[in-house]
Structure formats: structure tokens, C-alpha cells
Assembly symmetry: D2
Homo-oligomer: 138 residues x 4
């Protein structure tokens, strides 16, 4: 398993008339979180780009449990629990800082695409980076 906690401050741009975060914004927080999770295993997404590879989102899901509000600080935990064979699933849980209550949770599923724009297996350098950081949590 790899895991990372990313902090997000809620701004006016994020909230709607009900005073809570607009529902599609959570997917932007998911992106921020997975971006930093990849960096945490020494494989920033720019490495994929340099080699012409990509990891396009093929599915996304979010469950909204409580509305996050303006100026809240959210902790977006992202994790990968299954070693990827073809696609990779990243799971996210969002809590307010210093709180156990879950605001929202969800996942994204990503395919892999090589420099020719074709669907591919996960690149070897990615699997190696995952292996190096993979830990058992009990």
C-alpha cells in the first residue's frame, strides 16, 4: 500500500450558494492529492510526461457525506491498496483537519498510455517506484 495526506484550504472559488464546496471541485482535490502522493514515492507525474507516458482517468466516483465550508482546511488522504496489473485504482478520503468525520470519499481509476498514444501496461519505472515504497499496514 502507498498512502499520502494532502492539505487543501477551501476558498470562495470552491463553494456555491449553499455555502458548501461545489461537487465537482472534490475531483480537483483528488488530483492535487494523487499528484503529491506520486511525488512522495519519488515519481512526480512530470516523469511520466518526460517519457511520453500518461495515466488518463477512466472512471471517477465521489460520495458526499458532509459539506466542506469556506476556509476549512481539509486533509485529503489518497492511497493505492492493490498493486496495478493493468489499471490502477486510487482511493481518497477527505476529512476536516483535526477531525475524524469523513466529508467525502471516492476513487479514480486510471489506464496507462504510452508515447504512441496506445493503451499499455503500467510502465516498469512506475512499478519499481511503487514496490520500493510499498508497505504493509495492519
Amino acid at each position: 500500500m502507498i498512502k499520502f495526506n494532502h492539505k487543501v484550504r477551501i476558498l470562495y472559488r470552491d463553494i456555491d450558494y449553499m455555502g458548501i464546496v461545489y461537487y465537482s471541485r472534490y475531483f480537483e482535490y483528488f488530483e492535487a492529492a494523487r499528484n503529491e502522493m506520486l511525488r512522495s514515492i519519488d515519481l512526480p507525474y512530470t516523469e511520466f510526461e518526460k517519457r511520453g507516458d500518461a495515466m488518463p482517468v477512466v472512471e471517477s466516483y465521489c460520495k458526499y457525506r458532509e459539506g466542506a465550508r469556506y476556509d476549512d482546511v481539509l486533509i485529503v488522504s489518497s492511497k493505492v491498496t492493490e498493486f496495478p496489473h493493468s489499471r490502477i485504482k486510487i482511493e481518497y478520503t477527505i476529512r476536516r483537519q483535526n477531525s475524524d468525520i469523513i466529508i467525502a470519499d471516492g476513487y479514480t481509476i486510471h489506464a496507462f498510455m504510452n508515447a504512441k498514444g496506445r493503451a499499455s501496461k503500467p510502465p516498469t519505472y512506475f512499478l519499481k517506484a511503487l514496490e520500493k515504497s510499498w508497505k504493509d499496514y495492519e
Copy 2:
């Protein structure tokens, strides 16, 4: 069943470096589509607001099949196939104009909230509007 087709033109604001629509933007198109679907049954969402009611999103999902590109015109079809008892599910299918290929599809699930901010049954005026426009498609 109620059903509505809404047209969206893709702009630079929508696309990312890969030249395709950024994944969270589809949820904004879903909002545009359901907004117009409600108007098409003579119940614009502003009617909910006037009465203090709301229809917050509690789940959202999207499957990305093909990337939509800058200046594409997309047809976002939204539909409700099950008459709502507590929550309502709205389904969306996105195609390029004059094409049968599905770009993306997904759904949103909405709860109902009354003027006191409490979870509630679907309001009667909403059920009546649905009934009036409900049609069988074979």
C-alpha cells in the same frame, strides 16, 4: 421516464494539456444538463430555492470513454428512469453532435432537503411535475 438533450460547446477553459476535457468538467456539464431537464418539465431549480428546498448531490460517477476536444459540440442526454421515493438518480450520456460514439457517461444521486435544512422526502410539487411529464419509452 423523463429525458432531455442539452448542448455544450467545449472551450479552452475545459481542456488540459493532453488536449482533452479535464475529468472534473464533465460534472459541470452534468449540472447544466439536469438544470435544463428540470426546466423542460416546467420546474426550474429556482422553484426549489424559492421554497427553501434543495436537492444536494450525494454521489457522483463518471466513466470516460473517449476524450472530448476543443470546440467539440457535445450532446449531454440526461434522464430519470426510476420514480424517486427518497433519493433520485439522474443518468447522463455524452456524445459528440451527430455521432453515436459515447464520450462519457455517468450519474448523480441527489437527496432532498427542506427549508429547515433537514433530509426530507421528494417535495410533492416535484413529484407532480415528474408525473405530468413521465413517459414510457420502448
Copy 3:
């Protein structure tokens, strides 16, 4: 002068807690408006892209006079009043449909960039398209 009116429906994604459109969103409406203005003179921006040219924004400005609200229909008028020699200025005025009250107005200034990524003069095909549609308004 060239001129075009573009219609925009305000959604939940656009508004903030004060119930009015978030200030940066107007620049997205400006993009939508200039996109359609270019199409109206038979030169959709995709034509620039096919030739490797671009028209990057170098300055943008907006004055907010009245807040636009959820479900409002806005008319975004864009116009070019000065024939471009190096850069081009596009001006925008936003009103609610069937109203003379100005919600917001502003401008964007664009440079021209050729296929080599260098600053350039406005391309000839663009000047021709402007000339063909240029009209005097009194």
C-alpha cells in the same frame, strides 16, 4: 468593427456563497463570447490551431457592476473596434437578457504567436476575415 452577442446561462458551478457569480468566471464567459465572435466571421479559433498559430491573452480586465445570479441568462457582447496592427483588443459588455443594466464589462488583449512559438504580426488570413466582416456602426 466586428461584434457578436453570446448567451450564457448561470449555473451553480459559477456562483459563490454570496449568491453571485465568482469573479474569475466572467473571464470564462469572455472566452466563450470571443470564441463565437470568431466563428461568426467564419474564422473559428480551430483555424488558428490548424496552422500552428495562437492568440495568447496578454492582459485581461473586468469591472463588476452588479452581481449576476443563479439561473440568470446573460448576454455577453464582444467587439473589436480597432483594426489590429500588432496586438488585438477585444471588449466585452455583459447584460442580463432583456435588460439594459450592465452587469460587468472588460477587455482582453491578445498577442499573436506563429508555429515556431515566436511573437508575430496578426496572420494575413485573420486580417482578411476581419476586413470582410468589418462594418461601420454609427
Copy 4:
């Protein structure tokens, strides 16, 4: 003068097909920066909200000098150089981390609105907070 540096990491959500940040996004970074500048003088914007006051944007401007790219870390410096009598002007300069080259700069002008929704003078608690932190820079 009050002054604050805020850090922003560029994500895929921010960039467009040219690989650079979409022009309206800079105004979101401006909001993030002024939000943290207010917190730095012990007056988070939530304090305005608690009292029913608001500081709506009435003008915004940005000059784009260089394109910021995916995964760049930007330093958004915001400052107030003139003590506000009616409106307040906040200026922003954006640089890449560890670089002196200016990516973009601009300003926002804000009015003040009281709990009755009327234009007002800057509230006393705001002027006091500014005074307390006001410094001369030479």
C-alpha cells in the same frame, strides 16, 4: 504596507492545451493569496463574514508575461500599499519559486459592504488590523 507570499502548485486542472495556465485561473491564485494575507494580519476573511460584512471585488486586472506550466510552484506575492479610505487595492506579483522572472502581475479592487448589503466605509476592525501590521519598506 502589508505584504504576504503564498505558494501555489500548478495542477492539470489549471493548464490548457498550450500547456500553460488558463488565464482566468490566475484570479483564483489572487484569491488564495489575499485570503492568506488577511490571515497573516490576524483577520481571516471569516471574521468579515461573522459580522455580516463583505469585501466584494469591483475590478480585476492581470498581465500575463510568461506561461506557468504543470507542476510549477508559484510564489504569489500580494500587498496593499495605500491605506484604504473607501475602496482597497490589492496588488499581486507571481514568480516561479527561486526565480526573479515575473510570470504575471495584476490587482483587484474591493469595495466594502455592511450587513444590510449597503456600500460602506472599511470597517474599523479592519483598519485597526491593517494599522497594527502596517510597515514601511524602503
